[in-house]
Every structure is written in C-alpha cells, then in structure tokens.
C-alpha cells in the first residue's frame, strides 16, 4: 500500500524533471558544438601567433579592419584610417575603450607588438613590411609605413591572421579583444571559447555562452555526428549528401554562403618538351570553348557551386566583373579553331599536327576530392573535339607541388580561396611574371597582365583597384586564354533545425560566430 502511495509522488517529481529538461535553455547558458575539419593549428609553427585566428577563426580576435560577407572592408578596431601618399604612411585611429579578455585596454603598443610578431613569423609573406614599418604614434594611433609604395594595405590586413594580440601574452593561451575568450585547446580534439561579456560592440556581444569547435577530419563522420545530435553545426558538407538533407523529414538544414572559392584550369604556357601544348594559343582557346561549364558544375557539385566566368568571386570585382566574358561552350567553334591551327582529326578521334597527337597532361592538384568529378567530365568534353587528356591525380601535396614547380603538366586543375578583399591578391600571386614564386614561371604571360597587376597595386582607391584586377583577369581569360574559370564554390554548412543566426561567410577564415544561437 505504501508503495502505491508513493508512486504518484514519484511521477510528479519525474514530470517536473522532464519539464525542466524540455524547457528552452536561456541564451546565456547555451553551448554549441561545431564540427570542423582536421586540426590545422597543429601544422602551424609554435612560434606563430595563429592559435584561434587562422585557419580556424574562433572569434577570439578582432582585426583593425575586417572583410564582410560581400568582400568589402569595414572598420573594426580601427575607427578610421588615412593614407598619406607622399610619406607612404597609413594612420590607423584605434577605437577607444576596447578591452582585452584580461581586462586591459587596447592601445597602439598592442598593435605594434602584434604586427611585429606577424612580420617576424612570416618574413617572406609581407616583404613590404618590416619591424621598422610599425610605429605607435600615440596611445590610440598606429602608423604603418610600408618599405615600398603599397596602397592596398588596408585590404590586406583584413585577413584574420592580423588579429590583435594582447602584448606579451602567450600565443598558446591567446588573449584578444574578440566576442569570445579562449578557454581550452586540446590538440587534435577541440578548441573551446566562451562569450566575452565585456565586448566593445554591444550589438555584437555573443549570444551563446560557449562554443566548442570539435576537429573531425572525416566529412562523413562529421555529418553522422550532426545527424545524431552530437554536433549542432558542421562545415564542408559533401555535395553528394545535400539533396538527401534537403528532403522533408531531415533533421538538418543546409546553409550556403555566397561564392568564395574558385575552381579553374590553368595552362602551362612556357613548358619544356613534352609539355609544350600550352604555348599554342589555338589549343588554349579551343579547350575553353569545348568545356560546358554549366554541365560540369551541375554534375560535379550540384547546388554547391555555380559556373564561374570571373575566376575570383564577382563581388570582389564589383561592377567591373562584367569586363570578363570567358569563352562560352561552343564545340563547333573549338573544332574550327583547331582546324585553322593545323590540328587535324585523326582516325582514332584524336587530333594531330606534324605527327604529334594532341594529348594533354592534365594534372589535378591535391586533394583531388576537391574537384569532385569535374576532371572526368572535362576529359569527356575535350575528347568530343579531338583533344585527349591524361588525367594525373596527385597522390599527395608533395607530388602535386613538385609537378607545378617543375612545370610538368599541360593543364593543371586548381582550387583556391579569396580570404582577403584585396582584388589583385590572386592575380598577383599566380600570374605576375616578376614574382619569384616557382609555379608562376610557367603560367605568367607578362605584358598587359603585369601592367594591370602593377596598376592595381598602385591604385588610389578600391574602385580603381577593382578595375585593374578585372583587366588583369580579362587578359588571362579572354585574351591569352591561359586561365579557364570553371566553378565558383560555396561554403556549405549543415545545422540542426534549431540553430539560428548563423550567416555562412564565403571565406571560412572570416566566419563570425557571435550571432549563432539555438531556439527551441
């Protein structure tokens, strides 16, 4: 009898407990788990102040300026800046009253300390900056004088690697001014941050209490962990699983960024024998005309990409993106161009000229999975106009890099990211003929392309820089036919249905986290 009497009481307690568990967790106590790829902090040298900034930007740091989702520069820790052309000096006026996570105030000395640290850690990346370039003019003003004229500095330092560290803080226990403060980093496992209540921008104070970034290298495992509820949000969703996740009844939502990554073909125009096909402009033009990029993109990436004509994201070029036309799919025209150049169709369906078959070494950079099935589709389409390709999937980054450096290819299939708003970043890196970077010697045409890149660097304002960047790409794509844009790729995230406030950034290193939260 006593047992029966206590049963309703137990049920009441149980019901109360269930009600407590089922209620919405207040934002101030919410924790969110984010599944990201392999721990790439591991491969950064210990002396570098990169932890929490790059490649995973966990919101611990703020930069002087930042790049928004449309690749535009906006003020962050620097309220305003000016450029003195005569002195080649930038003056950044810092926001006042900004606090680091340890409670100290941000000053110009912190900026100098951080910049000097980065310049020392990456001596070859920022050759136009030396430690003598940075000067704390007063408590809230930093002057930066590049060693050579550089009108694009403000766009370059929007990269999260330039996040400001508290001076003399331990880079392995990072202290910044960002909306999240560092809690814990376990190598190969997780990176944990918590909301910083003293964040300087009240409209951007983080909504959740804690974010745990879990490193999960295997994309399928990441997806399964999200489907099972272990992770709330996961990055780099494989395109093949997107259709299934968009079916009714799925417990995950798909979130897409704008285009931020490119996928393109690149000719070796200065190769030695046997890699000399790229020196023939007719071959280059015909390859561009023979590729149906819409079909390739739909088959290889589905809705995770869109056909690209501009190579870099069009938003970076603004209105000048329309200058670049890119060849349209026209196999008849491709055949005509090859015929006119003396490449006659052989009995085996492969064109020949002077006894040499038109058979291109088609190098697919590591990791080949990034390109999905695009190389095979392109191979099929080129075969239709009599161009044979021998696809070489690079087994690892070492082989891939060596082939590019030594010019042992006719065409190379590349991907890359636009992580800063400087519009000439990629043309300068890959196609400037006076660059000392080894792969550039096989791809850079010089002439008008170099002129456009140099004009872009020296441009007085960002609109002019965009115009010159578009000119440089127009030369490469439409005039020289060295570069064949294939696809613009989006960042694809999957989130549980109750995740809100997450806006995928086209450059994952610039992703923001303060708005993300859970609803019931």
């Amino acid at each position: 009898m006593g047992q029966v009497a206590t049963l309703p009481r137990h049920l009441l307690v149980l019901a109360a407990l269930l009600a407590a568990c089922g209620g919405p967790v207040p934002l101030t106590q919410q924790t969110l788990s984010v599944g990201v790829g392999a721990d790439r902090f591991l491969t950064e040298l210990p002396s570098r102040p990169d932890l929490g900034k790059y490649p995973l930007n966990a919101g611990v740091f703020d930069t002087l300026v930042r790049m928004d989702e449309r690749f535009q520069v906006e003020p962050m820790l620097a309220e305003r800046w000016t450029y003195d052309r005569a002195a080649n000096t930038y003056r950044f006026a810092l926001r006042r009253g900004v606090r680091f996570h340890d409670g100290t105030e941000l000053t110009a000395d912190d900026v100098k300390y951080t910049f000097d640290l980065i310049i020392k850690a990456y001596p070859h990346n920022y050759e136009e900056l030396g430690t003598e370039s940075i000067h704390a003019a007063d408590r809230y003003v930093v002057e930066v004088t590049p060693t050579r004229t550089n009108q694009r500095l403000a766009e370059q330092i929007a990269h999260p690697i330039w996040g400001i560290n508290r001076q003399r803080s331990d880079p392995l226990r990072p202290v910044g001014t960002g909306p999240f403060r560092f809690v814990d980093y376990t190598r190969n496992s997780r990176f944990v941050v918590e909301r910083f209540d003293g964040y300087w921008n009240p409209s951007r104070v983080a909504k959740v209490h804690r974010l745990t970034f879990q490193f999960v290298a295997d994309p399928q495992a990441r997806m399964l962990a999200a489907r099972g509820g272990q992770l709330d949000l996961v990055s780099d969703v494989p395109p093949s699983v997107i259709p299934a996740l968009e079916q009714p009844g799925s417990n995950l939502q798909i979130l897409r960024s704008d285009v931020g990554t490119f996928d393109a073909l690149n000719f070796n125009i200065h190769g030695g024998a046997p890699f000399t096909f790229g020196s023939d402009p007719a071959v280059r033009e015909a390859v561009g005309l023979a590729i149906d990029r819409l079909a390739v993109v739909r088959a290889a990436w589905g809705t995770a990409a869109e056909p690209s004509t501009t190579w870099i994201p069009p938003a970076v070029l603004g209105q000048h993106a329309s200058v670049i036309k890119a060849p349209s799919f026209n196999p008849d025209r491709a055949a005509h161009v090859l015929d006119a150049a003396g490449w006659r169709m052989g009995t085996d369906g492969i064109r020949q000229k002077d006894g040499r078959q038109l058979s291109l070494a088609y190098s697919v950079t590591f990791p080949p999975s990034e390109h999905r099935t695009a190389p095979e589709f392109i191979q099929r389409q080129l075969k239709d106009v009599g161009i044979e390709t021998r696809i070489e999937l690079m087994g690892d980054a070492g082989v891939s890099g060596a082939r590019r450096r030594n010019g042992e290819y006719d065409i190379v299939h590349l991907t890359g990211n636009q992580n800063e708003p400087y519009p000439c970043f990629l043309p300068d890196l890959q196609y400037y003929s006076k660059s000392m970077a080894a792969p550039t010697r096989w791809t850079a045409p010089g002439g008008a392309t170099d002129t456009a890149i140099e004009a872009c660097r020296a441009a007085a304002d960002i609109a002019e820089a965009r115009r010159h960047a578009a000119d440089a790409i127009h030369q490469l794509v439409d005039v020289e036919h060295i570069l064949i844009p294939i696809a613009g790729l989006r960042r694809i995230w999957a989130a549980r249905m109750n995740v809100r406030g997450f806006v995928p950034h086209p450059s994952d290193t610039n992703q923001r986290w303060e708005g993300v939260h859970l609803v019931r």
Binding site: T43, P46, H124, D218, G228
Partner: protein
C-alpha cells in the same frame, strides 16, 4: 636462455631493417619536403631561393650516407628528430598519441576475448546447433566487413538512430565504445573460431572422457578440462593480433577522430612529415615485433613441452 638471446637479436635486426627502410621511404618518395614545408608555412608557393635555404636548414643538401648515419645515431639515443609539421619532437608526438591507441587496443582486445570465449565454448559444446551456426555467420560477417564500413554502420545505428553513443571524439568513456567495437569485430570473429575448434578437439580427448566418467559436471568439463588447454595456442593468436589492432586502428582512429597513433600516422602522411612518418613506422614495427616476441615467450612459459623442445634445439 640461448633461445631468448637469439630471438632478441633477431628483434634488433628487424628493427634495423625497418629503420633503414623507413629512412629510404623519406628519401626516395617523390616531391620536395622543403617546398612542401614552405608552402604550408608561407601559405603561398615559395621562391627557388627560399626552397634552397630551407633544404639547407633541413639538412636535405647533405650527402645521403651522412644523413642516414645522423638519423641512425639519433634513433639509438631515442632522438627521432623534429616533426616538420608541428615543430615538436617526434618522440613527444608519438608518446602523446600512444596512450590513446593503447586504451583503444586494450578495450578492443578485452571486448573480443569477452565475446569469443563464451561464444566459442558454447558453439563447441553444441556443434551444428543454432548457437554454432549463428556464431559462424557472425564470424564470417565480422571478419569480412571492412572496418570503415562497420564503423559507419555502427555510427548510423547507435549514434544517429538510437542516439545511445557519441559518434566522434575521445572526451569520455562512452566515446570509446564504437571505435573499440569496430576494431574488435574481426578479432572476435577469429578468436571465436579458434576457441571453438580448440575446445572441440579437447572435448574428444581421453582426459575429458575420463572426467565425464568420474561424474564431473559439464560446466567444469567445458571450462576447466576443455577450455584451459585450448588457451595455450590462443595466447599466440592474441599476441599476433596486436599487429592487427595497430593496423586496424589507423582507419578506425581516423573515422572516429580518435587522437591515437593511427590518426597521427595518417596526418603525418598527409603533411609529408618525413621525420614523423619515419618515427611512426619505426614505433609501429617495434610494437609489432615486440608483440610477436612476447607471444613466443608467453607460449614457452605456458607450455612446458615447447620450453623443453626449444631448449633442446638450442
């Protein structure tokens, strides 16, 4: 004693051979480690001058024999060099990852033995029964399913549909269950068949019949008279299975994000981190050779007939 010395000497020879091969692997693999290092460090393609400087810093421009001798001298002192991708000592990297793999391997081994012994004995006690047929089918499945497939399958069932267990990570004991079961599956299959056949042979021996004739209970007959002698050859199988555990852990650790030696090896290969790859190969080979040696010694210790025979050979 002489046998022990001989086996230990052959162990050293094997290690020397492996160390030479792992060094050669780093030397003759295509691609330039200096260039790769710089590309990762700079985030952009390096110049020829930078590559030349880096090759010098890494000692890659020194004669091959000199590099090999330096590496071998370091190995004998326990200095496996510095990881090119993390800048930390290779030995430190290996030591940090080792406990995770040991825990996973022990859990898998325990699970495999825990399943194999009762199921194997039950199958032998009633040949051609439902238990016997069932265990045979399970053994075929367990040994033929690739670990990556089984891993995903377990994730799907226990992580996604039933939501009983976490799918990735290594932060609690519950995280250990799925990777350990994945790793244990094929071992359990092998162990079960070995136990079954050994117990079956023992059950037909005279001493078992004599025990039954004396009225010893069936349970005692099975577990003392039939199982105990069957465990001696089982020791060898368990010892040799350590190699399986280590190689299987490479895939299992990768898909479950388990931060052990297997995942470390895959990361090292992806990063072309030759010092780490060389150290990893050396440690894995040493573990494999040591497990064989220990299995041999344990077998000798457990079975006096072997001890006497090997003593006579020596």
């Amino acid at each position: 004693m002489r046998y022990l010395v001989r086996r230990t000497a052959s162990f050293v020879v094997v290690l020397f051979g492996v160390s030479t091969l792992s060094f050669a692997l780093g030397v003759f693999a295509p691609g330039d480690p200096a260039e790769l290092f710089l590309e990762r460090a700079l985030g952009r393609p390096p110049t020829d001058v930078q590559i030349k400087e880096q090759r010098h810093q890494m000692g890659l421009d020194r004669p091959l024999a000199e590099r090999y001798l330096a590496w071998l001298t370091g190995v004998t002192r326990g200095d496996l060099g510095e990881s090119w991708s993390t800048g930390r000592g290779v030995f430190t990297e290996l030591i940090e990852a080792l406990p995770h793999t040991v825990i996973l391997a022990l859990a898998a081994l325990t699970a495999a033995i825990g399943v194999a012994v009762p199921v194997g004995v039950a199958a032998a006690a009633r040949p051609r029964s439902l238990v016997d047929h069932g265990s045979r089918i399970a053994a075929v499945l367990g040994s033929s399913l690739p670990s990556f497939f089984l891993g995903y399958l377990l994730m799907l069932v226990f992580g996604v549909h039933l939501r009983l267990l976490p799918v990735v990570g290594a932060s609690s004991a519950s995280h250990l269950v799925l990777p350990a079961v994945t790793l244990a599956a094929s071992l359990a299959a092998t162990f079960t068949r070995v136990i079954r056949s050994n117990v079956l042979v023992s059950l037909s021996e005279e001493y078992v019949r004599a025990a039954r004739a004396r009225g010893v209970s069936e349970g005692l007959v099975l577990f003392r008279h039939a199982l105990q002698p069957s465990l001696i050859p089982f020791i060898t199988i368990v010892g040799l299975s350590l190699g399986h555990l280590l190689s299987g852990a490479v895939i299992v650790e990768w898909i479950f994000s388990w931060p052990g030696l297997g995942k470390l090896g895959v990361d090292a290969i992806n990063n072309r981190d030759y010092p780490l790859i060389q150290g990893w190969v050396l440690v894995m080979s040493a573990a494999f050779a040591a497990s064989n040696l220990m299995a041999d010694l344990a077998y000798m210790w457990a079975d006096p007939r072997v001890r006497l025979a090997r003593g006579a050979e020596a």
